[in-house]
């Protein structure tokens, strides 16, 4: 390299020093790093907040489900007590009204849980028992409504009502178990 060229390069170096020798570069770097640090921190906080919000939502859903199950349990207990009180002198129209009421209320109560894998079988059994009760009731429909045979309605429907009552008791047990153990969704866990 000729001395002239070297001089030109030195001169250029003096006029344009390398960027890492510039203080503003390092200030910019520090600012950028601080920015990245806070961005990562913000991301981690946001992620944590998301998980906490999700957990809170799950807990709220589970709590809502628990409240719903408790409401269902109370209503089913009421129906079970009603079924316990059937008397020998039961008339056809009383049995028909009772079955209609029980059928309507049970169907409404269990409908939200019909696809629940843990309750599906118990719900199926109670719905089947309701269908059987309809058949039993039909079998004792009096030929002359004014002259009902004593006790015939009771004899003909007692077993069907007992079966409904047993199925309701099974269902109550299943619901009560669910309020005690909610697994991963347990609000109290």
């Amino acid at each position: 390299m000729t001395p002239d060229i070297q001089q030109v390069l030195d001169r250029l170096s003096e006029l344009h020093p390398p960027f890492w020798k510039d203080l503003s570069f390092w200030i910019a770097q520090i600012v950028a790093l601080v920015g990245v640090f806070f961005a990562i921190r913000a991301f981690l906080s946001a992620e944590k907040a998301f998980h906490e919000a999700k957990s809170a939502k799950d807990a709220a859903t589970a709590a809502g489900r628990t409240v719903k199950i408790q409401t269902v349990t109370i209503e089913l207990t009421e129906l079970a007590l009603k079924l316990d009180r059937i008397e020998l002198e039961l008339k056809y129209n009383e049995a028909r009204d009772l079955l209609s009421e029980i059928q309507r209320r049970i169907r409404r109560l269990v409908a939200p849980f019909a696809k629940d894998p843990q309750l599906k079988e118990a719900i199926g059994a109670v719905l089947l028992a309701l269908e059987d009760a309809q058949k039993s009731l039909k079998a004792v429909r009096p030929t002359d409504p004014k002259a009902e045979t004593p006790n015939a309605v009771y004899y003909g429907t007692q077993d069907a009502f007992d079966t409904i009552n047993n199925c309701v008791a099974d269902l109550l047990g299943m619901f009560e178990k669910q309020t005690l153990d909610l697994g991963e969704n347990d609000a109290g866990a």
Binding site: Y92, E121, A125, L128, A129, D132, S136, K138, A139, V140, R141, P142, T143, D144, A147, E148, T149, P150, N151, A152, Y155, G156, D159, A160, T163
Partner: protein, 129 residues
């Protein structure tokens, strides 16, 4: 007649069956599963014979199996002076299995007679050719 033995009640049912066959007892349907016979006194009584289905659920091969098993109830009521019916004897086939078969025989006899009457009635409703 409380406390009657199965043997005595069995004889009673056989007599009811024979009287039904002889046409001395005219049963009338009270509902699709119950037949009634009212006897003018004394004593004024009402006999009711009912077919009852009981449901039995069992678990077979991890599946719930529901079976409907029939049994029969024969009740003997006495008409009180007030017109009220007083249950004097009840034969429950689910509790007295030895008598259930006889009650079933009586029920089938009445039902067959009834079906025959209904058949004749329907024939009578048709115009003569």
């Amino acid at each position: 007649m409380p406390g009657l033995s199965d043997e005595e009640l069995g004889k009673y049912i056989e007599e009811v069956i024979q009287s039904t066959k002889d046409g001395l007892i005219k049963w009338e349907p009270a509902n699709p599963t119950t037949y009634v016979w009212d006897k003018a006194g004394p004593p004024s009584v009402r006999l009711t014979l009912q077919l009852v289905m009981r449901t039995r659920t069992s678990i077979e091969e991890n599946r719930r199996v529901v079976k409907n098993l029939p049994y029969y109830i024969l009740n003997v009521y006495e008409f009180e002076d007030t017109g009220r019916l007083n249950l004097r004897e009840g034969i429950d086939g689910s509790e007295r299995e030895a008598l259930d078969k006889s009650l079933g025989g009586l029920f089938n006899l009445i039902r067959d007679e009834r079906i025959q009457k209904d058949r004749e009635f329907l024939r009578g409703t048709l115009p003569r050719r």
